[in-house]
Symmetry: C2
Subunit: 819 residues, 2 copies
Amino acid sequence: MPPSAVDVDVDTKSISAYGLARSTVKVEKPPLDPEEIRKTDEYFCASLYLCLGMLYLRDNPLLREPLKREHIKSRVLGHWGSDAGQSFTWIHMNRLIKKYNLDALFVSGPGHGAPGILSHSYLEGVYSEVYPDKTECETGMQRFFKSFSFPGGIGSHATPETPGSIHEGGELGYSISHAFGSVFDHPDLITLTMVGDGEAETGPLATSWHSTKFLNPITDGAVLPVLHLNGYKINNPTLLARISHEELTSLFIGYGWTPYFVEGSDRESMHQAMAATLEHCVLEIKGIQKRARESKKAFRPRWPMIVLRTPKGWTAPKDVDGKRLEGFWRAHQVPITDVSTNPEHLKLLESWMKSYHPEKLFGKEGKLIPELKALAPTGNFRMSANPVGNGGLLRKPLDLPDFRDYAASNLEPGITYLGNMSNVAKFLRDVIAKNPTSFRLFGPDETESNKLGEIYKAGKKVWLGAYFDEDKDGGNLAMDGRVMEMLSEHTIEGWLEGYILSGRHGLLNSYEPFIHIIDSMVNQHCKWLEKCLEVEWRAKVASLNILLTATVWRQDHNGFTHQDPGFLDVVCNKSPEVVRIYLPPDGNSLLSVTNHCLRSVNYVNVIVADKQEHIQFLNLEEAIEHCTKGVGIWDWASNDQGEDPDVVMASCGDVATHEALAATALLREYLPNLKVRFVNVVDLFRLISETQHPHGMSDRQWKALFTDDKPIIFNFHSYPFLVHRMSYKRPGQKNLHVRGYREKGNIDTPFELAIRNQADRYSLAIEAIDRVPSLHNKASSIREKFMNLRIQAQTSAFENGIDAEEIRNWKWPFPKHTN
Amino acid sequence: MPPSAVDVDVDTKSISAYGLARSTVKVEKPPLDPEEIRKTDEYFCASLYLCLGMLYLRDNPLLREPLKREHIKSRVLGHWGSDAGQSFTWIHMNRLIKKYNLDALFVSGPGHGAPGILSHSYLEGVYSEVYPDKTECETGMQRFFKSFSFPGGIGSHATPETPGSIHEGGELGYSISHAFGSVFDHPDLITLTMVGDGEAETGPLATSWHSTKFLNPITDGAVLPVLHLNGYKINNPTLLARISHEELTSLFIGYGWTPYFVEGSDRESMHQAMAATLEHCVLEIKGIQKRARESKKAFRPRWPMIVLRTPKGWTAPKDVDGKRLEGFWRAHQVPITDVSTNPEHLKLLESWMKSYHPEKLFGKEGKLIPELKALAPTGNFRMSANPVGNGGLLRKPLDLPDFRDYAASNLEPGITYLGNMSNVAKFLRDVIAKNPTSFRLFGPDETESNKLGEIYKAGKKVWLGAYFDEDKDGGNLAMDGRVMEMLSEHTIEGWLEGYILSGRHGLLNSYEPFIHIIDSMVNQHCKWLEKCLEVEWRAKVASLNILLTATVWRQDHNGFTHQDPGFLDVVCNKSPEVVRIYLPPDGNSLLSVTNHCLRSVNYVNVIVADKQEHIQFLNLEEAIEHCTKGVGIWDWASNDQGEDPDVVMASCGDVATHEALAATALLREYLPNLKVRFVNVVDLFRLISETQHPHGMSDRQWKALFTDDKPIIFNFHSYPFLVHRMSYKRPGQKNLHVRGYREKGNIDTPFELAIRNQADRYSLAIEAIDRVPSLHNKASSIREKFMNLRIQAQTSAFENGIDAEEIRNWKWPFPKHTN
């Protein structure tokens, strides 16, 4: 190592294939003195020793006895590959946290390297604070080791049980977007983010580097990414580890970052290089923020980042049985798997573990020695104890305006047409205005299209890209906006998750057809929330709210590809403890539901509401009552008062309700003696048994609404089977006939409210006639009439390219509130 | 325009914000003479005229009468924004196709700009060839216009109805991966790929640029991307249009491309610049291929690409009512929407359309004049007629080895343990060997982990990244491999879709937990396939085969995040015409199913099979028979021969079957008088009614298998509700009790085959006891025994970290084939 500059040459021949052009940090003198190097490396050893202990040991944690088979777990599980690099980075950040009093969080992208993170939370004492049975002593260490990836213990990722973690990393690709979510509106926070080079190949990660175009250096904190070029995934080299320095540097400059390289395996020189480089980056971040904050002018700098190239499984034996281990894919998971059955390998493991000298690192009682302990920060400065990593602690309820003030008034229910979004948009506008540092709205470039443009009056779209003159013409862009729009559902969902998990609130709006893009992310967030319910020290976070609009029924012009309402099926598979689904039938009910969701915690709330103009049904008080109940009979639409109905017409979803009511009106008009009951469902989980979901209802309640012997014609927003699933084994289930969206038989047509998938008014009315036994034969001429009306409506749409006036602007024909 | 170099300066002030550093192609003299420019621009005008016609007109297609309201569609739908840029690119490729006899395909990434593509297929005569009612005459043009985004007509994307299209673009992000799929093993093909700058923000697109590391310049063709910096998405500027030339250039160099810039709006100079640049790129591609092919040494070059910056809505009026239109987001969809109600706007539209001079472009009968027609290639050289764009035409059935030769033989059914993948891996190895240019295997770095490593003997992993010495140590990398592995489910799925849609075959293998990442892509592919069934000229393509392994039941060590078998629910929502789901219980049945899937066409086949060692049940002949039936009674496991059973034990899925059989054995051992029937399901859609799926069964068949009055204890691989959904309204449905994976109550434990979600043998046996009325009370001591066994098993797993021997290595305890 040259004494006057930290510019470490890589130490494997193969690295020369990358070429030489790369930027490294130059410093006048090495940042660490020999004593500091020794202590830093010993701390590193302590962490690595713990990592191996977690992978292998169920007993004999400090190797005070010779290692025997019975000390080894029956199944050795976990990942070693990225542990050293992650631990190494953590340690060097600790130095800077102490030196500069930094507020720092650690996001572990590789995920699989959880031992690297867990070891630090144990060394820092946090693990023992939150899990008092895992004390800093030999017994505690034994328990700590045994519980790793063990039945009844913890998983092998940075799961919710991991102190300081807001990112599990089981499914790869979201570390950068989560990290950005954590620093928005946290101006002093630096989130140090390890990005695995495997993870970096995923699409979501690849585009999330662009997040800098949405980061304000005055009001937001900073993300400091460390791209960990570990070299290998499970069985393959990684792409970014196999391109030239020139390409790699170009890539990150292109993404808007300045990459600094720290590459090698010699521990001493690597400690110097990392210490210098990390410090340089932290100071560069501080400098950028100072410049922006003092000038009060935000700008997009080229933010610093680090490319850390270390051998995969760094510090492992070079080879085992003549096969390469360190620096190769074989070091990805547990590096030597057969230690229980192969005595030589058991010996090898023992000598490997002892090479870290646990006897020097841990005192007699088994606790990290004070000299090393002093290297870590204390209290909430410890990254494993940062409250941002347990965001519920920071969460304050939103300051919500009274949603009643935003009600659509002077409604003629059943007559007035209004955009369902118009009032909720004003409500959200004022939510933004009243919560200027703790609520953001997210969307993939659809907020305006989704008729929520009103919100820009309180918070424009965050934009740190270049500005053009034309932006003044309604661009609604601002350096300090509150609305986050990027055409990447993955990125905005990741931001929102990070924002919520670090203690704030938000809502994502999206076209319904494209929400499947983030099925897996929402799944993972649900699983995170569910697991948190079992982790006592985790404080509850705000709910993740998803508003789905531009729904399947209005995707005629975009066609078949835009027609998939199946996200609800995905959500319904998640734990009832954490998911809620609402389909408000009109504007006031949407307002009531939205207000409710913004107050809730620890859920994923899905609201489905179309953005177009719709007939309005409920005044505010009615809407509040109806949404509170979640399901109810609409007396004004029914004519069965005080009697058993002949048929129950039911609906869930705005367009579905419109058509079901039109069908009800047809029945009442043409068959005035038929007793029709109308039931509307807002809260989808009301349909399920109360034994299966907290919002579920009893069979008695079900019967009171739907009867147990009358035909139920249910018009549903989504795929019909979901209703069958929800109402499985209900009394009278065999009488339930659900219509809704079906792939088969779909035709591309703007004949929106009719024939498509046979969920239109005429089909519903015909179905009702067919299902009511007393009408058989009697109503055949009326049935034919409805068939003809249906054909006429279709013909008219095909000829004119638009639904007939009486379809589009249908109104409820009876006086409301009388029958 | 400087006469001696094509280096066009941008013509808006704001562009100067990008900085000056960008590479443009320099040529000695402009490539086009004035006559060529005139004709090229007229062809451009003809295309743009058609685009507007599609958006607006239902009549008066050639504006031979003054434009009136009644000529305008009632709803004007579609997108204008990217039409001009796409059309412009198409035209310039036409010149080179003719000049160099290129085999070229066009992929339209923005998707929303379908008119740009449709107009060319009409101008080239292909549209009239495949839709004889849309002839090249005034009437044909009127029909062509009217059918666009109209009921009973076509969608507004490059849907399957679009000649030459293999990419719809409704959901953005897959143009580059689809394009790469089309050129693999098509060495002479150049797929010209327009990438929208909105689309370029998505994750899938952002990582798909790395596809060049998997492209062999000897055996594969080339993708020529044209990144279309249109400037705006729906309502926002795009990221890539708002960063400096330096960053943009760096980004693409980093991705491994050489970007050439064509920027401006002056049509004459833009024609010269595009002609020169496109030609330069085509020649660069040809040069790279020549070098590689002559030397027989593959390498990864920096492939050329084009950055085309034109104003959004190029050639539209600059402004309307004083509001900026061309070059702004207002030009994204239909630029002037109120032409039916605003007479001034109607006039404006008329004069805009007339500015293209349709009267000069289209002859008396309404057909493009011969002078312009001569600019387009003919026959299959037309991009809209390239058979690659209707890949079923090129598809040849696979040359499949006889799968019977790969059977696991000498099985002791119910006793022998074997990896389910071991035989199918050999079969797939030979499929690869026998089909060296028409079959590839795809996976996100999991092929080896999924125990399919045997296939590398026939085809290694394609890798054009850097090679290191260590790769010789089992790296299985090759420039000319047959296995495609990148840690991006999006990219490999996109490649596979492109590969299949262009006439070849493939199979994707993935861990089950991460397949939700591509829910939306699979949805879109299903929709594509379904729509193709209605498009007569589309020839059927090979099925898209997905092998899911590392299933939910074996994800104990990876924990809760890796546990989601809900992909099947997503698939079940798709049209029965195009989806098939198989859950083979063992190795021979997996072999039989795989063979079947590789022979099928036009489906998405999903096979779920765990990769670990499993007990084997069926010899080959039994497996073939069982898989052909899709469901059947396993007589050897049942003891109800010739009698009504007391209980039906049923299963679907390998782990589920193992546990259900173990439960059956428990019942038979402890309750020898109980008559148990065992039913296994391979083909999930057998469960559904024959009225709803081609594989469905009648109620009579159902009753013969499951009875209509006996309890059915069904152990299922996935979420239980899917079975309820499938068997909805079956006779005896109320007797159906399904166990399977549930989120709620999950615990992270390697106690794999037991307690988790109560789908273990003891719970199943207890459920059976509880459901058989004749056993009430009588079996209470046995019930308690099972409860105790269950607790013991759990305790043992918690203590030892592994299931007890009798759980892990359980064997069928009765003589097989006797009872």
